[in-house]
Symmetry: C2
Subunit: 195 residues, 2 copies
C-alpha cells in the first residue's frame, strides 16, 4: 500500500500541469500524461471522462490558487475600505505576477479557462461575493453609502476589469500601470464612501 504510486485524480492533475508546461497546450496529449504517469492512457480515462474535463480540472485548480488567498483577506476583521483596497491590490498583484513570471504558462491557462467557461463563471461569482461581503461590512461600519451591496460589488468588479481580466494582460507590463491602478482605486473608494 504505497501511497505514492496510487493513481489519484490529484496526481493526474499535477502531472498534467507538468506535461502542459513541458509540451505546451497544443501538443500535450492524454497519451503524454499517461506516459509521464507510467500508466496506459485508458487509466487516465477512469478518473476523467474526457480530455476536456481533465483540462477543466486543471483550470479550476489554477483559479482556486487565486481565490483562496483572497478569501482569507476578505475574512479578516478591520475597516472595510482599507480591506477592500488591499483585496483588490492583492488580486491585481496575483494576476500581474502570474503573467510576468511565466507568460507562456499564463497563455496556456488562459486558453484552458476560455474552454472551461462554467468554471470561470463560478470563479467570478466567488470573487464578486467576496467583494459583496466586504461592501456590506463597510455599510454596517458606516464607511460606505451603497443602496445594494450585490450591485455595488458587481460594479467594483466591472470597473477594475482592466487590471484583472486577462484580455488586458498585455498592458500590465506598462510602466504607467501602477499609477492607473491608484487612480481607479481612488475614484472607486471615493464613489463608495459615505459623506
Amino acid at each position: 500500500m504505497n501511497e505514492a504510486v496510487v493513481l489519484t485524480s490529484e496526481r493526474i492533475l499535477e502531472v498534467t500541469e507538468d506535461v502542459l508546461r513541458r509540451y505546451g497546450l497544443a501538443k500535450a496529449t492524454v497519451v503524454d500524461v499517461a506516459r509521464a504517469l507510467d500508466v496506459s492512457h485508458g487509466s487516465v480515462y477512469r478518473h476523467f471522462p474526457s480530455k476536456a474535463s481533465l483540462r477543466e480540472a486543471v483550470a479550476k485548480r489554477w483559479l482556486e490558487r487565486v481565490s483562496r488567498p483572497l478569501a482569507q483577506i476578505a475574512a479578516e476583521p478591520g475597516p472595510a475600505p482599507a480591506k477592500l483596497e488591499r483585496w483588490l491590490r492583492e488580486l491585481f498583484d496575483a494576476k500581474h505576477k502570474r503573467v510576468c513570471e511565466d507568460p507562456e504558462m499564463f497563455a496556456t491557462y488562459l486558453t484552458l479557462a476560455r474552454e472551461a467557461c462554467a468554471v470561470v463563471k463560478a470563479h467570478k461569482q466567488e470573487l464578486i461575493s467576496q467583494v459583496e461581503g466586504m461592501i456590506a461590512e463597510g455599510v454596517a461600519q458606516g464607511a460606505f453609502d451603497v443602496a445594494d451591496p450585490k450591485i455595488a460589488a458587481a460594479a467594483i468588479f466591472d470597473a477594475t476589469r482592466s487590471f484583472h481580466h486577462p484580455a488586458h494582460a498585455d498592458e500590465w507590463a506598462d510602466c504607467t500601470c501602477s499609477t492607473r491602478v491608484d487612480a481607479v482605486l481612488t475614484l472607486l473608494l471615493r464613489g463608495l464612501a459615505a459623506r
Copy 2:
C-alpha cells in the same frame, strides 16, 4: 472627366468594406477588391502600398465613425457631469449597437483593429483627451474635485472598459448589462464629484 469612375483612395475603401462584408475577412483578397472596382490589382497598389495599409485605413474609418459623434457631444456647452455621463452612454451604445446589429462585421473590424495597433492607440488617446476636456470643464464649474484631469480621464476610461472594450463584447447582450452600466456610472460620477 466623370468623377464617378475616377479611382480614389476613398472609393477603394468603400468597395473594400463591401468586399469584406461579402467574402469575410479571411477570404477577401486585394484581387477581389480590384475586381469589384473593375481595375487590375496593380492599380490598388498605386493608392495603398500594401494590403496591410489598406486594412489599416479601413480600421481607421471605422474608429472615426465612433469618435466623430462623441467629439460633438464633448464640444457642447452645459454642466460637465451630465455631459460626461451622456458621452459615456453614447460610447457604450455605439459599440453595443455595432456588435448586436452585425456581429460578423464586428468580428471583422475587431481583427482589423488588432492588426492596426498604432491606429487603435491613437483612437484611444483621442477618446481619453475628449474625456479629459470634460473633466477639466467640470473642475472649472466646481462640480468635480480632481487633482489631475489627465489621470482622472485615463481612470474613467480604464474603469469603463467592460462596456467599451471589444474583448467584453460577448457580455453586452446580457440582460443585466444596463443595470451594470448604471451602477458603474453612479460610482464613478460620485467618485469625481466635489463634496
